[in-house]
């Protein structure tokens, strides 16, 4: 007993010599400390949280119906009214409340961003992992397929599909007319980049000595993939996914802008900018400015958050104990 304690004391002394502090830091602590240091990312996270809450809770909040025109006391439609008390963002050409349209327009954007992101994350990781873990014909054929998908020019194809979707009679209307259809389309067109990245990660990680050590210990494929490779590939997956979410929101808005996205009267940011651009020439700037700002700020926040995550998830970065 005394022996053990003696050894323990010696070991503590050894720790002091080797500069190991008493309290361990978990990976989570590290991640948070680094993310908090990235001020823009923190602001971005705040903005995004606010946006999501606003959009999700919109029906519970005192917003006007985004598709109904506002009337004045005499029953006349309030067209193109500038921002003022009560109508913070003004009204559009049809007399609808721009604030409420911008908030509800965010629904389409965030749904498209979220669903596309989830889809890309799943498909890209799946295809990339399989290709990266099984070299040879499986890898070859999957990567040829990935090249093919990557070779499709995103916007021209998305525009065709966006234009055609509402006309396809046999599709259920939630696919044809809603944001889900656009999200599915964008998801299927944009997983290729992530698949390549994940494959490259797998190829490099499977050669790492800790993976060999696991194999030497007798670990099976499942354990190697889920315990050793994927946790170390998580950083590029998250970063690439945030990038795709931003792009998806932009492309959805572009489709709506061109009139090939979600059909009116459902509000979308792209539609608001399109219409706002037309009337801004006459000095009615609020639709263009508020719609555009909402779109840019959202995408910007996503990109800043992605940048912060990239820094925070980088395992090569060290941090000094305080």
């Amino acid at each position: 007993m005394t022996d053990t304690r003696g050894a323990g004391e010696r070991l503590e002394e050894l720790d002091a010599v080797e500069g190991l502090a008493v309290e361990p830091i978990t990976q989570w602590d590290l991640f948070w400390t680094r993310l908090r240091r990235h001020r823009l990312a923190m602001v971005a996270a705040g903005v995004l949280t606010f946006m999501v809450l606003l959009v999700v809770l919109a029906p519970l909040l005192p917003f006007e119906d985004p598709t109904q025109r506002l009337l004045d006391d005499t029953g006349r439609t309030l067209r193109n009214i500038g921002p003022r008390g009560g109508i913070l963002f003004g009204t559009d050409e049809l007399g609808r409340d721009v604030l409420s349209r911008v908030v509800y327009g965010g629904r389409a954007s965030l749904i498209v961003g979220g669903v596309t992101g989830a889809l890309v994350c799943t498909m890209g990781t799946l295809v990339g992992s399989i290709a990266g873990y099984y070299p040879g014909p499986v890898d070859q054929s999957l990567m040829r397929f990935t090249d093919l998908v990557l070779g499709l020019p995103l916007l021209p194809v998305a525009i065709v599909v966006g234009r055609i979707l509402p006309d396809v009679e046999w599709l259920p209307s939630w696919v044809g007319d809603g944001p889900i259809g656009i999200a599915l389309l964008l998801g299927f067109l944009s997983w290729g980049g992530l698949a390549r990245i994940v494959r490259a990660e797998f190829l490099s990680l499977r050669e790492k000595e800790f993976v060999e050590a696991a194999r030497a210990a007798g670990a099976n494929d499942r354990r190697i993939v889920f315990r050793h490779i994927l946790p170390n590939a998580i950083s590029p997956i998250i970063v690439q996914t945030t990038l795709i979410v931003g792009i998806a929101i932009i492309v959805e808005a572009a489709l709506s802008f061109l009139g090939f996205g979600i059909p009116p009267p459902t509000p979308t940011w792209g539609g608001i900018v399109s219409e706002g651009g037309r009337i801004a020439v006459r000095g009615f700037w609020w639709q263009l400015v508020f719609g555009g700002t909402a779109l840019v700020v959202t995408v910007l926040s996503i990109n800043f958050l992605g940048d912060g995550l990239r820094d925070a998830l980088d395992p090569t970065q060290t941090i000094e104990r305080k």
Partner: protein, 350 residues
């Protein structure tokens, strides 16, 4: 002396006091090329017909320069790489010998309890996203040994054995220094009480003062636990220090294999001569009296090895018509002293 030479018998059964026997091990990596479909157009002959045995409880050192195939040999033995051909017989104490390359999945899995490996790079060999406890416990987890609590107890015990504090279990690798990480790697390798360990350049990434710590630890463990080591390194000083017998590899072949003192004091292969003479000795008096054998040129590519003796392109003693056409076999030229050379000669190089 060359009269009594016998060649290495690769057909013999593994004897009881040998724990491992490698016969005609070959590992080739295909070189592929093709416009649409990959065709094999050649091969890197990383390990070209290597045979040796390891005695129970000894340390066999395997030395050679980069690209000589020593690490590939180790990985092929453990079947971390699939060998192209050859046998690797493992002889567990009180069990039947198993041929690793042909073993089925279940046998191999069970074998892995007995065979362990320690890697060179203490930074790459520990999963940065796992705690020390789960890293060290991994072999036990994989083989379903004991309860969670049992495993944790064992981890703490192992950490003590390798000179780390048992309180470190919930730390992550990035918090440790290189030497400490290497100790964690040793603890992991010991988890299942293996009998045979491959040490693949275990100290070459460490600073000198830390190297000594790890080497001492390895020697203590061998003594306490009766382990057998296959010690792979490029540092000839370290190999002499820790090994009982030493094999020298050049371009995928073993060129000389002997007891440590025989190999260092009476080397017979010209490559061994050159290699030993090139190693600096930290003693200015010894150094000032040494003559270096400087080899010409670079090591040839293992994708296109020279004909005949693989060393003949750089060998100061190469004889035209013999060395460039005939491939020398490993022959026993003195008791337990194997050499693959047409013109072996004992030469003291320091």
């Amino acid at each position: 002396m060359t009269e009594v030479a016998s060649t290495y018998d690769t057909t013999a059964e593994i004897s009881d006091d040998h724990i491992l026997r490698v016969d005609n091990l070959v590992k080739e990596f295909p070189i592929t090329r093709g416009v649409f479909f990959k065709k094999q157009v050649g091969a890197v002959h990383a390990v070209a017909d290597v045979s040796f045995y390891v005695k129970r409880g000894e340390t066999l050192g395997l030395v050679g320069e980069s690209g000589c195939g020593k690490s590939t040999t180790a990985r092929s033995i453990l079947r971390l790489l699939e060998p192209t051909s050859g046998d690797v017989w493992f002889n567990p104490e009180g069990g039947d010998p198993v041929n690793i390359p042909t073993a089925n999945k279940e046998t191999l899995r069970n074998l892995r309890r007995e065979l362990q490996i320690i890697f060179q790079d203490p930074y790459a060999s520990l999963n940065p996203r796992m705690t020390v406890a789960s890293i060290v416990a991994e072999p036990m987890t994989v083989h379903n040994v004991g309860t969670k609590q049992d495993r944790l107890d064992r981890v703490k015990e192992l950490l003590k054995v390798v000179g780390l504090s048992p309180e470190h279990t919930n730390r992550y690798p990035h918090e440790f220094s290189g030497g400490q990480r290497q100790r964690i790697g040793v603890a992991r390798a010991l988890a299942l009480n293996p009998s045979f360990m491959v040490l693949d350049e275990p100290v070459s990434a460490l600073d000198v003062s830390i190297q000594a710590q790890v080497l001492n630890l390895l020697q203590d463990l061998q003594e306490e636990l009766g382990l057998t080591y296959l010690f792979i390194a490029h540092d000839l000083s370290v190999v002499r220090h820790i090994s009982d017998r030493v094999a020298v590899m050049y371009l995928g072949r073993i060129v000389e294999l002997a007891d440590r003192n025989a190999l260092y004091e009476e080397p017979m292969h010209p490559y061994t001569h050159a290699l030993l003479s090139a190693v600096p000795i930290p003693d200015p008096e010894v150094e000032s009296n040494r003559v270096r054998i400087i080899l010409e040129g670079d090591i040839p590519s293992p994708a296109n090895p020279p004909s005949g003796c693989r060393f003949h392109t750089r060998c100061p003693k190469a004889v035209e018509g013999v060395c460039d056409t005939d491939d020398p076999q490993l022959r026993e030229l003195a008791e337990e002293h194997w050499v693959a050379c047409h013109y072996p000669e004992v030469r003291k190089v320091f």
